[in-house]
């Protein structure tokens, strides 16, 4: 009995002890940008004496947390549809922070590089092209010696923004895919095995000869996975790099930045790319939120879209925002209010 009283007293002391300290901000959501965000937040903590905790629980979890008003910001690889926006308790703004791509990785010993058109790519994932020595592949890659091996398709078993981007692209470029499978964070894959997370897919591809799958660029670039060149809308075969990913954002972007960058028409753009966003409420005065907390949150996000943080993005294998998009992001931040008054100047 005595021991439990002491324990309770100790616990409450610990709770008290933390009242006077640096501002603490919490966010949750997408796993795709998590390495970049963690590196950025660690840097920001040194600069601004503000502690940021971020949990990579998935875009859906991030949106849910924001809806339940238990975090300062949510993070999502997919922007909220009009219907989803209506479902939120108050208006929400999207601020893009960086972009990433989906690379198509494969395991073919001895093969240095392969080119794929959207049609061939879709056919492989639809299960229509089942063997590596199919004439369509040979035609696209005349110099390559394809083995007579069955193609093992590897996809994600968990719901993910990477899947969403990949299937969104396939839906845009292939009618059969559009009617048969469609786009989404989780879809009904016609063929293939599912592996969990980027490491799962990458690992499965490494261990299975003749396999092909899709991986998020942050993972693929860091691990230097061999990836296919995909033909973009302008007809060029583009390799996925930080530069070609950023190029996808250079076209026309709507004012609220809610757009999928897949199948971009920019000539040097890699066709399977997209933004990732931070989501906050347009009016920050909810749930007894203090002005200080709102200011701290906005200052953090403002820093994320400015030059230093964007430079860090490049270093960690993420594609920075093109100048126009960064400016748009800053403009959106300046429309966020607290009790009607703009927070940032």
């Amino acid at each position: 009995m005595k021991k439990s009283i002491v324990l309770v007293a100790l616990l409450s002391l610990m709770t008290l002890g933390n009242k006077v300290s640096a501002q603490s901000i919490s966010g949750a959501g997408a796993t795709f940008p998590e390495p970049f965000y963690n590196a950025a937040f660690a840097t920001y903590q040194r600069l601004a004496n503000a502690k940021v905790t971020y949990g990579g629980i998935g875009s859906g979890g991030g949106i849910r947390s924001l809806k339940d008003k238990i975090v300062d910001f949510g993070a999502s690889d997919a922007f909220l549809t009009n219907q989803e926006l209506h479902g939120m308790p108050a208006p929400v703004v999207h601020i893009p922070t960086c972009s990433g791509a989906v690379v198509v990785a494969y395991n073919l010993p001895g093969v240095k590089q392969i080119k794929l058109t959207p049609t061939v790519l879709a056919s492989i994932f639809l299960g229509q092209i089942r063997n590596w020595n199919h004439p369509a592949l040979k035609k696209l890659n005349p110099g390559v010696r394809f083995p007579n091996k069955e193609i093992t398709v590897v996809h994600r078993s968990d719901g993910s923004g990477t899947t969403n981007m990949f299937t969104d692209y396939l839906t845009k470029v292939n009618n059969v895919w559009r009617s048969k499978v469609g786009a989404g964070k989780t879809v009904n894959w016609p063929v293939g095995v599912g592996a969990k997370g980027n490491p799962g897919v990458a690992g499965a591809i490494h261990q299975t000869q003749g396999s092909i799958g899709y991986i998020g660029s942050e993972y693929a670039f860091a691990q230097r996975e061999p990836s296919a060149l995909i033909q973009n809308k302008a007809g060029k075969f583009i390799k996925a790099t930080v530069a070609s990913t950023s190029a996808a954002g250079k076209g026309k972007i709507p004012a609220d930045t809610r757009v999928m960058l897949t199948n971009s028409s920019a000539p040097t753009a890699y066709p399977i790319a997209g933004f990732t966003w931070l989501l906050i409420y347009k009016d920050q005065a909810y749930n007894n939120r203090s002005l200080a907390q709102a200011q701290a949150t906005l200052k953090l996000i403002d820093w994320m879209v400015s030059r230093n943080a964007q430079g860090l993005a490049v270093k960690t294998n993420y594609a920075p925002l093109p100048a126009g998009v960064a400016a748009r992001a800053k403009a959106i931040l300046r429309t966020v209010t607290y009790k009607g008054k703009r927070i940032l100047k």
């Binding site: 919490s26 949750a28 590196a39 660690a42 238990i70 993972y219």
Partner: protein, 299 residues
Amino acid sequence: MDNIINIGKTAGLLSSIGYRKAKNNIFKILVMVFSFLTISMVFLIIGTLLVKGYKQINLAFFTQVAPDTFTAMMATANGEVIPGGIVNGILGSIYLVLIASAIAIPMGIVIGVYLSENSKKKYACVIRDLADIMQGVPSIVIGIIAYIWVVVPLTKGYSVLAGGVALAIMMLPLIVRSTEESLKMVPDTLKEAAIALGTPYYKVIWRVLIPTSFSGLISGILLAVSRVLGETAPLMLTTLGNPDVNWNVAKPGSAVPLLIWQFYNDPNMVNLIWSSTIFLMGFVLILNLISKWIGAKRK
């Protein structure tokens, strides 16, 4: 088959010493073989962990917070050991387990006592079955429940308290059932003797039943603690994670399994998962040794 048995019976073979001894020896060999199989699996797994992770273990591992992907990338590129450690996770895990234990151990033991003392009653059977069913609930579902009941209404944000509650729910069935079964093994004669001497009920429980079954209780508690030390899914939905050490129960906290999950998904930090697991194993080992020491002292 029947004919052989009949012939055997007539010849007195089936009850002969030779036959019984043969069965006995064959059984002993089987037991040895299967035990050996189990132990070799253990060695295989722990061996893999040690081989993959020993390079990352150093003093900094226990004193510094988790590195970020950029620092890790630089270190790997230079062929160095990745700096930083997991102290935010270590202290976070210990904090969570303390909170969960403070809730689950007293409650679990008391409920276990109730079940063993009333084991024939129908109501007790229902409670027992409910506890067994709770054991089968996936950890992520418990995380969802703790999210609905603690994160949103109570702490209005991800918090260590929610994580502690989720872990406590996971520990409960194990502690309840092992307490109950251990108490059931105490010979009735001991209990009856104490009652016959006029000992009040609470003293019978506190001074006769619990001390006799103490090693069983400790095993159950140890198993429950070992399990929750390695759980990830419920913590993702309740305590979220924290780059620093955090003592505030109403704020997000870190834990070693959360860090392991983070390292796994980060292409530059994947090698840290093995050393983090070695730490968890070491911690469970220490708890094991402590409990054996306590058990030995009591004898």
